[in-house]
């Protein structure tokens, strides 16, 4: 795509970066077929290709963005399915970040919009405030009908209650010989909403010889605010985390910074770019980003300490967008779950977002609900007894639309390797435990075939997969 920025505009780093991205788009339009908002609306401006054009026009024109452009950028989920399918690797993720920051700086939203966005950005990122607002929402529920629409949505989305607060700050020693030492991002809303995920993560990692350190100074990763265009708040959060983790890196050494919420992981892995203009932290941020890993990247299937028997629960694995499209992690979580003994089912239309998307379901509730219901239907169609995902946002969103137990991948892995049965499975009738199969040892001979994949091998293995049509 040709652009028409002036030399003065291109002197601004953000505009120059946007220009470089815009020029790579040639309007093939593969992105449209996988974009949830386009598929549901068939509006060209609700597709990445259309949004890219709108962003180009907005930035070229300069000044105050028009409401139509802002509306179409706001309605983007940032699921990045478009980036997975794009033939020419348009960096839409960062273009959208630049556009949102530009809008935040140059567009005056209606007061109600400003209020809600401010409320969301300050509540979700602070566990204590989140707990207070949850209590307030509970009180407001009886009079929800009297509330303005946007506030009513927030009240509806607020959980009925919160589990007891748990703080994992500190050092959690490895069981047995220490193989690794990692820092764990405790997160913000996850601490309040689902502390069992961090608990399972700590148990799983320490059980496998990994020391886990949670610096008390680290907190929200900045993803929520970044995707709302509040880049300064995001950078402040990132700076705090980089300082905390880099201090650990200097003192005790770190093999990895572990993130168990993939939406956060995507941003942490991008800290080098986020803090590129911060001379005091540029290098530290790059060092931290270089060792950031999703929790499923740390353990290999062969690493798992498994008991003699497995519970062959059928689990639908939902690919969180931030994991599959941004971090390109699809096979490892499945491989781990299979190794742990679960029967893993893929979810139809797996490339599609569930509508969670950070603050999206709070700010764009209609589209979020349509996508959530659609995804829940697909998950239920697999016939699985439970569903797993690597991102709390997806679990919370889908939990609104399906009665199936929703679990984080680490909760299942923790349980399968000796941890407690997850609460979400408390009322589920479990299949009888079965003796674990012996692993087929590879022959090791040059050119020898790899061992046969399990019957429900992941689609990205591409080496077979039928449970055996009789003809074969």
């Amino acid at each position: 795509m040709k652009t028409a920025f002036t030399a003065a505009q291109l002197a601004e780093p953000e505009i120059a970066a946007a220009d470089g991205i815009l020029r790579t788009c040639v309007h093939y339009g593969f992105c449209t077929a996988v974009c949830p908002t386009y598929v549901l609306t068939r509006d060209e401006n609700e597709a990445p290709r259309g949004r890219i054009d709108l962003i180009r026009a907005m930035l070229e024109r300069g000044g105050r963005p028009d409401a139509k452009t802002v509306g179409h950028i706001d309605s983007c989920l940032s699921c990045n399915a478009c980036m997975t399918t794009c033939a020419v690797d348009v960096d839409y993720l960062h273009l959208a970040d630049i556009a949102r920051a530009y809008i935040e700086e140059n567009y005056r939203r209606p007061l109600s919009d400003q209020f809600v966005r401010r409320l969301v950005s300050r509540t979700v990122t602070d566990p204590a405030r989140f707990a207070r607002m949850t209590a307030l929402a509970r009180l407001a529920r009886p009079v929800r009908a009297l509330l303005p629409g946007r506030l009513r949505t927030l009240v509806d989305l607020a959980p009925a209650g919160l589990p007891p607060r748990r703080d994992f700050a500190g050092v959690h020693p490895a069981e047995g010989a220490r193989r690794m030492r990692v820092a764990l991002l405790q997160g913000c809303v996850q601490q309040a909403l689902a502390p069992e995920i961090n608990a399972a993560t700590v148990r799983l990692l320490t059980r496998h010889g990994i020391e886990v350190v949670v610096p008390p100074e680290a907190g929200c990763c900045g993803a929520f605010t970044l995707h709302m265009g509040k880049a300064d708040m995001a950078r402040a959060a990132a700076a705090r985390n980089v300082d905390a983790w880099h201090a650990e890196l200097d003192v005790g050494g770190l093999d990895a910074v572990i993130v168990n919420a993939s939406g956060c992981g995507t941003v942490v892995k991008d800290y080098a770019r986020l803090l590129a203009e911060d001379p005091a932290r540029r290098e530290k941020a790059a060092a931290v980003a270089a060792i950031a890993r999703d929790v499923t990247e740390l353990l290999a299937p062969d690493d798992l300490k498994l008991p003699e028997t497995a519970v062959p629960l059928t689990v639908a694995y939902h690919d969180a967008c931030s994991l599959q499209h941004a971090q390109k992690i699809r096979g490892r979580p499945r491989a781990l779950l299979r190794a742990a003994g679960f029967a893993v089912r893929d979810v139809p239309e797996g490339h599609f977002c569930c509508g969670s998307a950070g603050a999206y379901n709070m700010l764009q509730p209609e589209m979020a609900e349509a996508l959530g219901r659609r995804k829940a239907t697909h998950i239920e169609s697999t016939g699985a007894a439970a569903a797993a995902a690597g991102n709390l946002g997806c679990l919370a969103q889908l939990g609104r639309f399906t009665g199936l137990p929703m679990l984080h991948t680490v909760e299942l892995l923790d349980w399968a390797t000796g941890g407690p049965r997850p609460d979400a499975l408390r009322d589920v009738a479990l299949p009888e435990p079965v003796a674990r199969k012996q692993t087929v040892a590879p022959t090791g001979a040059p050119g020898a075939p790899p061992p046969a994949p399990p019957p429900d091998a992941p689609s990205d293995a591409s080496s077979g997969g039928s449970t055996g049509a009789a003809i074969w």
Binding site: F30, R42, A87, D346, G350, S462, S463, G464, G468
Partner: protein, 504 residues
């Protein structure tokens, strides 16, 4: 002719929300990757059923407007979803007619609407337990199955021939009449043979709707292959361009006996490498020169691929059980000492070869779309002649094609997809569509290639929208007259895609 009146009536029948005349939509529906420019339509309509398609065709007859049906609009390198001419009303069948109407897991077929993509059917078959697989292209996963079959598209497995492995259609003719083909034409409610038998009473009309504009196919039966428990690929890298002659001679007997169940993908260096990286040589010449032989050799070494790399696969009960077949094929291809064997597990580490494995496995993949960024600017056209499976002829065609690419400063990117007697040569013409000079060279190269191949008795398998009239003009007058006569019989007012495939 009144497009406004047509749209007004169409909105009355479909609902205004299913008639789109937004400027940004019309711009996008006219875009394509050809050197000849975009073709902006007058409107985009979203029918939801065969009845609505038929009603729109009748309205088009009434108001004398031209319709252009498209399914998912992913016909990359051949026209995307661009009509043959500007100003038509696009019927986007992908928006609402995207249902998998039936899957028969006993007889092994699916019946689909035009908007059903390779990915959608693959997903559904997987959801049902993965006992069956559909043949997929290595093109866009969101490509439509009906559109691909009707354009004579193909996959790579035993059911590669997407038109040949379809059975039973529902078609809206240019008159607005609806017909069912084959055993579907019986006036009955229990059409048990519609999607399992091709050759019952009466003429086989199905072929009329492949690469034509005589009707709009709204339902198609596609046959499914039982998914084998294991798929094991094999690959051979050959070092020299001229090795194509030996390769073709080696492939032919393996396919003639059907010892190898898949087609052979015989891809040259730049076809495979181009799916992974952009041209490293483009900037130096500003796109005016072909990449040098030395640069190609360097890329081959870097990517562990040959001047030509051959890929195929076996289907069987387990990876181990296929060892004897693999050993036989390794012995066959490596006999002359030129080939380097690349085993399955090693190939899976190379994206371009893993893409081949996915294609043999009925797994849609995006990998090969990387070819679209070999040169910047988004220009892409596919020239698709074929060669008989005779090594010397195939090599002669290679020299011919390579010389024309080089004369026009373009990069020779070819995959021969080889069966027992014939290989379709997928020639990619990658060019910078934002550079008028490169566009002109791409157009000149395409025409020169076509002229040269026609002179040797070879037409194309599929034709990009820019050159469909050009191709039709190469055919004998009586054949062209027959096509036009059929058009007059089935679409007397010429309302369905006039000019598509050069038929008016």
């Amino acid at each position: 002719m009144s497009m406004d009146a047509f749209l007004n009536d169409a909105a009355g029948g479909l609902g205004a929300e299913h008639v789109n005349t937004a400027d940004e939509t019309l711009v996008r529906y006219g875009e394509n990757t050809m050197p000849g420019g975009d073709r902006r339509p007058a409107a985009v309509l979203y029918p939801g059923s065969t009845e609505e398609v038929a009603a729109l065709v009748r309205l088009a007859n009434l108001h004398r407007v031209a319709l252009f049906p498209t399914s998912t609009g992913n016909n990359m390198g051949l026209g995307t979803r661009s009509a043959p001419a500007a100003g038509m009303a696009v019927l986007d069948l992908g928006r609402r007619m995207n249902r998998i109407l039936e899957i028969d897991e006993k007889m092994g077929f699916a019946a689909v609407e035009p908007g059903v993509s390779f990915q959608m059917l693959a997903d559904e078959l997987k959801r049902r337990g993965g006992q069956w697989m559909n043949s997929t292209t290595s093109g866009p996963p969101q490509g439509g199955m009906i559109g691909n079959a009707l354009d004579k598209g193909a996959g790579y497995g035993p059911y590669f021939d997407h038109f040949g492995f379809s059975c039973g259609m529902e078609v809206v003719l240019g008159t607005g009449d609806v017909i069912r083909t084959g055993d579907g034409s019986i006036e009955a409610d229990n059409l048990v043979n519609w999607h399992v038998s091709k050759y019952s009473f009466g003429p086989i009309l199905d072929g009329l709707f492949a690469q034509s504009n005589y009707g709009i196919v709204t339902r198609l039966g596609v046959w499914l292959l039982p998914r084998p428990p294991a798929i094991r690929s094999f690959h051979f890298a050959f070092p020299d361009d001229s090795d194509l002659e030996e390769i073709v001679e080696l492939c032919r007997p393996m396919k003639m006996s059907n010892f190898v169940p898949t087609l052979f993908r015989v891809a040259n260096d730049l076809y495979l490498i181009g799916s992974e990286v952009p041209s490293p040589a483009y900037a130096a010449s500003g796109g005016r020169k072909s990449i040098s032989d030395d640069a190609r050799k360097a890329l081959q070494r870097e990517h562990g691929l040959g001047a030509w790399t051959v890929s195929g696969a076996f289907y069987g009960p387990s990876m181990e059980a296929m060892e004897p077949q693999v050993q036989r094929v390794v012995g066959h291809f490596c006999a002359s000492g030129k080939a380097t064997y690349i085993p399955h597990e090693e190939a899976m580490e190379k994206p371009a070869l893993a893409c081949a494995v996915a294609s043999f496995s009925g797994e849609p993949t995006n990998t090969e779309l990387g070819l679209l960024k070999w040169r910047p600017g988004g220009g892409n056209a596919w020239f698709t002649p074929g060669t008989p499976m005779d090594g010397r002829t195939a090599n002669e065609f290679q020299k011919l094609g390579r010389a024309i690419y080089e004369a026009n400063g373009l990069d020779y990117q070819v995959m021969n997809v080889a069966g027992p007697r014939f290989a379709r040569g997928l020639h990619v013409i990658s060019f910078n569509r934002e550079d008028p000079d490169e566009c002109a060279r791409a157009d000149a190269a395409y025409r020169a290639l076509a002229d040269a191949f026609y002179a040797r008795g070879v037409a194309v398998g599929r034709a990009p929208v820019d050159w469909q009239d050009f191709h039709m003009d190469k055919l004998m007058p009586s054949f062209r007259d027959a096509c036009a006569a059929i058009k007059r019989a089935l679409d007397p007012n010429g309302v369905i895609a006039p000019g598509r495939y050069g038929i008016y």
